[in-house]
């Protein structure tokens, strides 16, 4: 057991690894592969919607595409990408030698690929893949589901197990592995947001497991959880699902907040404004996420008292989220700003996420939601949050830490072009969807009325532009790894702060086997 053991040779390095950097790398590549897969489903959706009328695919297959696009993007692309980032960065940021439970860490990763193989294989099963939307409402997903739903359920179970183990590992790492002197209020904000995210995951992934288990029992064993004929209620499914689903939204966005809170100070050359308020705001958002779930269900026929409670609770979320947005802006105020690619994506995040936040506020108003519900306005809203929020921030993170991970600098010009093409392509895709949604175009429909034709064509063109820009991203990353210009400094960005910039680029296989000395001065102002 040598102190400076390097990686094993060949495939076994990746199969048997217990190293947080290897596992982080595998998560990141896997999530990118899923991003491409989910993205190609989206391309099929947009190609079908390019013109009114039925063009390319059967309606049933279209429904399978919307379902799998959502599932693959949420569970396969966004969540694992941030888990990968957590694996790479949390031990480096808190001065830990590795994750707290390294073997379990490897298991958390390795059950993901077969889980998604199982999910994707439903496409080739009799009756086709799940076609009931990523929210899989009963009774579409029980009484009327194709037999492949059984494998869908088990795939969700596997992904849930992976998430729970990964989160337990992150919590144990953050609580137990901080270098001496690294107090909670000295942790980088990315670590804070992940600690809270991991708590949310441990709290709600089991509830999702409960929901799909009830489905499984209803389908195969004659129970009646979601069947009124037996005294159950299909709406019960929606309650259980969204009790998971709403925290899930913050599970996706909180690590993105963390990333942006690292990058904006670095390129503003100022400490993060209002560090403590950022921590409290994150905790407040996490708390509120447990008491707002039924705002997804305003039109389902809840009592008015329920509608009002969930409406006001939802609106409260705007307060801590606003704190964050103002803090990021204040961090940039009078900073020595420079606009490298990570900063561009972070500012893009800030603007577009705020738009997504405002449309969320519109949707939170129960009476108004009766108009917006299940329209393209909702689609536009959550893509502003999921893509311009989570994916933009993840992209920023890759550009920001890639020189640290690889010891090589990416092509800055190509990065900037990637940003502008993404930014423009994204807005062409999703901004018009607000208009068609407000005008009444329903979501998850392969055909539409003629008055929506122009905006849909714009949307499709934008989607192809955005999709193509990701190829540029892939090329840039690979070119960097293979032949990027070597980075000599430990601290790649002059304004960057944190322990990860005290180790070499690329870092040695094992870092902080001896914990670093932490500056004993008081925590962030």
């Amino acid at each position: 057991m040598g102190a400076h053991h390097g990686p094993a040779a060949g495939l076994s390095r990746w199969l048997f690894t217990t190293n947080h950097k290897d596992i982080g790398t595998m998560y990141l590549w896997f999530s990118f592969a899923m991003f491409i897969l989910g993205g190609s489903f989206a391309m099929i959706i947009r190609a079908e919607l390019f013109q009114p009328g039925m063009q390319l695919v059967e309606p049933g297959f279209f429904n399978q595409m919307t379902t799998l696009h959502g599932l693959v993007m949420v569970f396969g692309a966004i969540m694992p990408s941030f888990v990968g980032l957590a694996n790479w960065m949390i031990p480096l940021m808190i001065g830990a030698p590795d994750m707290a439970l390294p073997r379990m860490n490897n298991w958390s990763f390795w059950i993901l690929p077969p889980g998604f193989l199982m999910l994707a294989s439903t496409l080739f099963m009799e009756g086709g893949a799940p076609a009931f939307g990523w929210t899989f409402y009963a009774p579409l997903s029980t009484t009327y589901a194709a037999p492949s739903v059984t494998f869908f359920i088990f795939a969700i179970h596997i992904l849930g197990v992976s998430s729970i183990m990964g989160s337990i590992n992150i919590i144990a790492t953050v609580m137990n592995m901080r270098a001496p002197g690294m107090t909670y209020m000295k942790m980088p904000l990315f670590v804070w947001t992940w600690l809270i995210t991991a708590f949310l995951l441990v709290a709600v992934m089991p509830v999702l497991a409960g929901a799909v288990t009830m489905m499984l029992m209803d389908i195969h064993f004659g129970t009646s959880f979601f069947s009124a004929a037996g005294g159950g209620d299909p709406v019960l499914f929606q309650h259980v699902f969204w009790f998971f689903g709403h925290p899930e939204v913050y599970i996706i966005i909180l690590p993105a907040f963390g990333v942006v809170s690292q990058i904006i100070p670095a390129f503003s050359r100022k400490p993060l404004f209002g560090y403590a308020s950022m921590v409290y705001a994150t905790a407040a958002i996490a708390f509120l996420s447990f008491i707002v779930w039924a705002h997804h269900m305003y039109t389902v026929g809840m009592p008015v008292a329920g509608e009002l409670f969930f409406m006001y609770a939802t609106m409260l979320i705007a307060v801590p989220t606003g704190v964050k947005v103002f803090n990021w802006i204040s961090t940039m105020w009078r900073g020595a700003l420079s606009f490298e690619t990570p900063m561009l994506f972070s500012i893009g995040f800030l603007i577009l996420f705020t738009i997504g936040g405002f449309t969320g506020l519109m949707l939170s108003i129960a009476p108004a939601d009766f108009q917006y519900h299940d329209t393209y306005f909702v689609v536009a809203h959550f893509h502003y949050v999921m893509v311009a929020g989570a994916v933009f921030s993840m992209t920023a993170a890759v550009y920001y830490w890639l020189p640290k991970w690889t010891g090589r600098m990416y092509n800055e010009n190509m990065g900037k072009i990637h940003f502008w093409v993404s930014f423009i392509g994204f807005n062409i895709t999703f901004f018009p969807q607000h208009f068609v949604g407000l005008a009444g175009m329903p979501r998850r429909i392969p055909d539409y009325a003629l008055q929506f034709a122009d905006f849909n064509m714009m949307s499709s063109v934008g989607a192809f532009i955005y999709g193509a820009s990701q190829i540029m991203f892939l090329y840039n990353v690979i070119a960097t790894i293979v032949a990027g210009e070597k980075v000599t400094e430990d601290k790649v960005w002059d304004g960057a702060e944190g322990l990860e910039w005290t180790v070499s680029s690329p870092p040695p296989y094992h870092t902080f086997e001896v914990p670093p000395q932490i500056d004993p001065s008081p925590a962030h102002g």
């Binding site: 077969p114 441990v202 029992m217 005290t502």
Partner: protein, 326 residues
């Protein structure tokens, strides 16, 4: 590196295991198990009842491989601990891991309790026509009255599946009897009460075993831990008897509408967790009796299992209250 290479006072090196095939083997076991289960369920529900299926062999092979891998995994962790590789810090990682694992289990049960409360407090009365949203149900399920335990499913209230207005997704018939406390004269025949006593006692005996090992008294530890395991087995046997009674004499099955659904899922998952906890405690018992493992200072394997045991006990108290009594 900016940091100095000298370790701070009181620092022990954190043991990061070398690469290991355990995770990959566990993956193969888990995925094969799940895949086999999926095949088997689909054959059962959608398949040709005449055709023979090899799905159960996939399931069994996966399960055996998975259990073997897990035991070799836990064996490795135990061996590392005995060899003194675990620093105090690493031991604390295991403590945190177990704590948050139990928390995730709490949330799993919360989903099913939530379903029970929702059905009993909201959905049931609405189905019987109560409230603003209930009006439509008066048309869909005329004659349905909500009671708990239910006297009829909505399907039965409208005269069977054929007279149902909305899509049919099965036959749901109410049981002749529920599991609620029925007869004050024969209270001693009411199994759930005995099960409650047994499980509460077992939590106590588990605690006595714990105080034994804390004093370094192995005999007290072994005896009381053995009693705890035995009580767990008796509980499970009574649970099986209760299920037999439900199916054979009460007509209470998984098809008995929402009462049967919630009853069997809540008690079934609880029973499964008791079986898991009992197995964990049994392994600790064997470790102590055969291997002379555990000291007054170091007995985390037992401690973690005992937390799990107290957890299933607490779940049972809620079950007893909300499933059987109220």
């Amino acid at each position: 590196m900016a940091s100095s290479q000298t370790a701070p006072a009181g620092y022990e090196k954190y043991y990061v295991p070398e690469s290991s095939s355990l995770a990959l083997r566990a993956t193969i076991g888990l995925v094969t198990t799940v895949f086999g289960a999926g095949l088997m369920l689909n054959d059962m529900t959608f398949g040709d009842p005449e055709a023979s299926s090899s799905a159960k062999w996939v399931l069994i092979a996966g399960l055996v491989f998975f259990v073997m891998t897990l035991s070799s995994w836990f064996g490795t962790a135990i061996r590392e601990n005995l060899q003194g590789m675990n620093s105090a810090q690493l031991s604390h990682s295991y403590v945190l891991g177990m704590f948050w694992f139990i928390f995730s289990e709490v949330m799993f049960f919360a989903a099913f309790f939530g379903a029970l409360f929702y059905v009993r407090q909201l959905a049931g009365p609405w189905l019987a026509g109560e409230g603003e949203g209930g009006r439509m149900n008066g048309l869909l399920w005329p004659g349905f009255e909500f009671n708990w335990p239910p006297t009829a499913t909505p399907q039965e209230a409208v005269g069977g599946a054929d007279s149902q207005l909305i899509a049919n997704n099965g036959l749901f018939t109410t049981s002749e009897r529920s599991m609620a406390f029925a007869d004050a004269h024969h209270w001693y025949q009411w199994l759930p009460m005995w099960n409650t006593l047994i499980l509460l006692t077992s939590s106590f005996t588990c605690h006595v075993a714990h105080t034994g090992i804390l004093k370094g008294n192995r005999k007290q530890f072994n005896v009381w831990l053995g009693i705890t395991v035995a009580l767990g087995i008796i509980f499970l046997a009574l649970q099986v008897a209760e299920y037999y009674e439900a199916y054979a004499h009460f007509g209470l099955t998984l098809n008995s509408g929402i009462y049967g659904s919630t009853f069997f899922m809540l008690t079934g998952f609880h029973g499964f967790h008791v079986a898991m906890g009992m197995t964990m405690l049994l392994i600790q018992f064997i470790r102590s009796v055969k291997g002379k493992h555990f000291t007054a200072a170091e007995h985390f394997g037992f401690e973690a299992s005992s937390w799990y045991w107290h957890f299933v006990d607490v779940v049972w108290v809620f079950l007893f209250l909300f499933v059987y009594i109220l």
